[in-house]
């Protein structure tokens, strides 16, 4: 197993993120940074409520580009570095995503008996902070504002890991295989039902 190194993740130049130091446990040798984006949210801005329990609590769409050459599989973790004991609190883990995929559609099934959408065959959910193999969106306490790091890892091998890994197990399993990483860090505060940031 290679030596793990804590390195700061390069994210878009949003001032508010200066208070949110995101660290990555990836191989220090040659991690490439690539772009992670979404048609409905972006770093430093409020997530639509439909991706939270204030709305339909469906998984958000993600897109990535600029993957390093040799990417065979992709893993995604959504984590809140401002919650959890110890942090981060994990909202979503999905992996075994084909290296040819360019993103994830919205509303992935939370029932493991349901098939993944076309192009994502073989992708499986890991266990989030609640121990559930599915996406569960942000619900920060009170009126607090939290950052949600959607971390995407490019892997150099088709690891085909078993479903249900938690964050630590996944990071251990992909250690030494991470050849790139991209992050998108939107924010969220609990919203009322009549808020405008609903995805149609």
């Amino acid at each position: 197993m290679s030596q793990l190194t804590q390195i700061p993740v390069r994210v878009a130049g949003i001032g508010i993120l200066a208070t949110c130091i995101v660290t990555a446990e990836i191989d220090a040798q040659s991690p490439t940074t690539f772009i992670v984006e979404s048609p409905t949210m972006t770093t430093g801005e409020m997530m639509p409520r439909d991706y939270s329990p204030d709305g339909r609590n469906m998984s958000p769409p993600l897109r990535w580009r600029g993957l390093p050459e040799g990417t065979r599989q992709i893993a995604v973790i959504c984590q809140d570095h401002g919650a959890g004991n110890p942090p981060p609190w994990v909202h979503w883990i999905i992996y075994n995503i084909s290296g040819t995929a360019d993103g994830l559609p919205t509303g992935l099934p939370f029932d493991s008996s349901e098939p993944m959408p076309r192009g994502l065959e073989g992708a499986v959910h890991g266990n989030n902070g609640w121990g559930l193999p599915m996406y569960r969106g942000p619900a920060p306490p009170g009126n607090s504002l939290h950052h949600y790091d959607f971390a995407v890892f490019a892997l150099d091998e088709e690891l085909n890991l078993p479903p249900g890994l938690d964050r630590e197990e996944l990071l251990e399993a992909i250690d030494g295989h991470v050849i790139g990483r991209g992050d998108m860090v939107p924010i969220y505060r609990r919203q009322r039902a009549d808020s405008v940031s609903t995805v149609n």
Binding site: P53, D54, G55, R56, N57, M58, F110, D111, W130, L132, M134, R136, G137, A139, R190, Q191, R192, A193
Partner: protein, 234 residues
Amino acid sequence: MAEKPREEKGISRRDMLKTAGAAGAAALIPVPLDASTTVGALEKTSTELLAAAPAGPLMNLTAHETEILSAMVDRLIPSDEMGPGALDAGALRYIDRALSEAESDAAEAYRNGLTALDRYSEYSRGKPFTELGDKEQDSVLIDLQTGSATGAGVGFVGSSGAFFNMVKSHTWQGVFGDPQYGGNVNFTGWDLINYPGVRMRVSREEQRRLEEDQLEPVRRSAYDFEQFQAGEED
């Protein structure tokens, strides 16, 4: 007291329950007879008589609360290809009865929780809980389970997770507990998990058949045995 005969092959328990269509009706399903059926086998145990009680309105919940709880219980253990669900097993009536007896302290928590569940459903999904589809109901219940159903004005007393766990626990009791307490109608829950049943003793031969999955299950309440007489004065 005789054991209830098992159903004939070819007529699954689930098919019969599907035909019955409702928890109350499920209690009235006749036992199929065959040439080996004895007069003793037709004798009703106290459990069967309890299960056959007519299904009236619930005692502790309003009609609206009953609808919400019914929908919730139905999603916790749905009737599907695995077999009958919690409603078929009479979990709803078990809970209602428990709220009059051992769980009477929980009646207020049910009223508050069911109101909050419906309010949260309206708040987050735009519809009352009973009007959501199965998947959306599941999604809402997961929000409850994870303690996330805390949007403005929803009003769960304490954590939504606590309410979820209370209803889940009572539903489990109503499906898998002893039928004496009003649930597990026609031993639906025990059949679901292939529970061998209550026995006062197990012979070596029965142990062998159990290990080979050949043991005929006993379908009697513990209180149908003389050793367990509930609530009787000395």
